[in-house]
Subunit: 443 residues, 2 copies
């Protein structure tokens, strides 16, 4: 089923208050400032005008023309009748309003779904934070806007989603879409998995869930999606106390975590343990669809090279055994103090040429599937020089970069990111990125 | 043994080249710019002057007065004779120069040690990145300067140390001292552990090691230090490949990791798994010496509360069971939709008053040892308001804060940090901080 009308709409109507600080106004501001190129219709019985993002829009007292999607932020009790009224004019509705099943008003939610079904309207929410269709420049949520890229984020928790978008911005992640689906009265995680599996702008899908209602359907949707692209899952409510808290939060039966875990694994999803890992995995998959297990580590400092090696082995990856040919070649141009066995230590005065030639030599080795390139602040040259070596090296295998630390390698990290190479701030986080990439290579 | 003359010197002499880009000049610049208030004497047979940090210093052709510490960055082969020459004038020498046992020149290193012993001079290095005595405003290294605080960082790897200082700056950590001890020809990790255990400016010690030479002495020094303050250890060379790499890097016999692990545990040290954790643990211990196991989670968003709960349980901490009195009190002033069972969900519109009163109520509960306070970007008020509630709440139990994410809570995080409350960027990292604090409470 195509949900393009939600994520690539050509017109949108907003229902709610447009006073300063009101939710509908914040969403309107995001849509206008985000550069949406379709028709935008604010609707409120009081009429008037609203100024946002340097534009003045006329507020219509009622909707009187067809639009792709309606975003609704009016009091819960009038939502069903509104949907009944505008049903013939809309394809989908995003219901931001809270006050439905999550506070025990199951009857009101049933009524909402019934009105929507009557008109063939699909629903997202209620009790949700809205949606983004980033490549359609459609920011239909009050959450912080994000850069375009390959990650579709599906979140059962609106606030988690909002925080994740903001962290994603900090981590340099690009997004294709965001959906907070709240009470999942109609469309749920399985629908979005299926949809984003087919969305050409989405390279990877990230899913935050506390629980699902229809396990069988979820498994099917998940397997369908993982067959096409990586799906990263952060499951909350894994512990006994966490599951109780989830039940009170989203009303989810978090269920036995062991069952979820088995489902994720069997369906080929990448399960992450922590919020930070969700971003690290997303960064890796925005760059590469997968990578083999045999890693070459290249560094200008022994210590971080050892830390990376420890972590790689612990995660079940292999420290690639370089061929004698590679070792000989490295020996031929590297200074004597360098270590030419994996991890390869180019020592502190390594420059552009030393990095580039080493990367290219190692990349040609048939025993190597992927490269982890570490750079601590070089003493005599700017880190941008090393970054340029990473970017310009002729290598067709996945390269994961760990430039550290902070301010001292800022120019290097910026150069990497301008060229689509995402940086991982510690050796261990870089190693973990390779682990997830390798999970996609072995069935 | 006091090593105050190294970390709180009243005078320092530098030996090396003071040309642009030379190591001795970079160290001199750091010492001058760092505001060292004692005497600074650059020494080079060529004499002349050197301009650094807006000051012009006269380079003496030779040292002709006593100083506390000499920092030496001259070619390896002339270091022993230099130490022999200046031995009567100095208490300690930091030998930056490389080219000793780490490249097989064991004889030269033996000679260096012999000359130092002859004059009763203590040695740090050779082949090291230098030292900082931050509270003595003494930045005797080319590494990036840091803010004063409670963490003493002891690093076997100079480059690791440098990267760690830079990351520490980014993470808002304050340092008391830094020492890169290189080949450990004289003073080693055990000496520094003993010294910093007694240093009043040091609240916690962080140690990066690949291997130690004298295990018995190390165990004794470690146990002595942990009896006085927390010692955080990151051991590199844990895996088979990592151990091999460590052997080639610092010449360490990394040995069986299982033995190290047992030693760390028996001595009461906090072992961390990753570089990032070293900072998180340091942040926790800069604030609190320890914390009990029973945690109350307070949040304005269900999802992150569930993630924190999951992690706490997984780490063996307890989700505190609030007393009926506490639950009743919370019920009396919190809106109906809030969850008053731990984790306590104050929901999206929580403000200063709601956070402050909840923290104070929960803090009085005898079943609660510590608090984890989560804040996702509040919609209607600045995050600074919530941060002010955390800071101003009347609570004498450890509070760990997790404000997320990034730009959106910047004002809140800044307010926290100005008031000595360090922020942890994800719920899971905050939970882990409490785990380390609790490790210090149970023997």
């Amino acid at each position: 089923m195509s949900l393009d009308f939600f994520f690539y709409p050509s017109s949108v109507a907003l229902f709610g208050s447009f006073r300063k600080g009101a939710i509908a106004r914040e969403i309107l501001r995001n849509i206008v400032e985000g550069g949406f190129e379709g028709k935008i219709i604010p609707v409120n019985p009081k009429g008037g005008t609203v100024e946002v993002g340097g534009k003045t829009l006329t507020i219509k007292p009622k909707l009187d023309e067809p639009v792709d999607v309606a975003i609704i932020a009016v009091p819960a009790k009038i939502v069903p009748s509104l949907v009944d009224e505008i049903g013939p004019l809309i394809k989908g509705a995003v219901v931001i309003s809270a006050g439905f099943s999550e506070v025990g008003n199951d009857e009101l939610e049933r009524e909402l779904v019934e009105k929507a079904r009557k008109h063939g309207v699909r629903l997202i929410g209620p009790n949700c934070a809205g949606i983004f269709g980033v490549h359609g420049k459609f920011f239909g949520s009050f959450e912080v806007r994000v850069k375009p890229g390959g990650l579709a984020l599906i979140s059962q928790s609106g606030a988690f989603g909002g925080a994740a978008l903001a962290m994603g911005n900090d981590e340099g992640i690009g997004f294709s879409a965001f959906v907070s689906y709240g009470n999942a009265s109609d469309l749920n995680e399985s629908d979005f998995l299926e949809y984003f599996a087919g969305d050409e702008n989405t390279k990877a899908i990230a899913l935050y869930i506390e629980g699902v209602k229809d396990g069988r359907r979820f498994f099917k949707a998940l397997r369908c999606a993982t067959g096409k692209k990586p799906v990263i899952i952060l499951k909350a409510g894994k512990s006994a106390s966490g599951a109780r808290a989830a039940a009170s939060h989203t009303g989810s039966l978090a269920g036995s975590y062991e069952i979820y875990r088995a489902v994720f694994r069997q369906a080929g999803a990448i399960e992450v343990e922590e919020m930070e890992e969700l971003f690290d995995a997303a960064k890796a998959f925005e760059m590469y669809p997968m990578a083999g297990k045999r890693v070459a580590v290249i560094t200008n400092s022994g210590g971080p090279g050892v830390l990376a090696t420890d972590k790689l082995e612990r995660l079940g990856l292999e420290i690639a055994k370089l061929s004698e040919k590679t070792v000989g070649e490295l020996r031929s141009f590297l200074p004597e103090q360098c270590s030419v066995r994996n991890p390869i230590d180019l020592i502190a005065d390594a420059d552009y040429e030393r990095y580039k030639r080493t990367i290219e030599t190692v990349c040609r080795d048939e025993n190597v599937d992927s490269l982890l390139v570490i750079c601590v602040p070089p003493i005599f040259i700017p880190s941008g020089e090393i970054a340029r070596a990473v970017v310009e090296a002729d290598c067709d295998k996945p390269i994961i970069a760990n430039f550290m630390a902070g301010e001292l390698v800022k120019d290097g990290v910026e150069l990497l990111e301008r060229n689509g190479v995402k940086n991982f701030p510690t050796p261990e986080r870089a190693a973990r990125a390779l682990k997830w990439l390798s999970d996609r290579s072995s069935p």
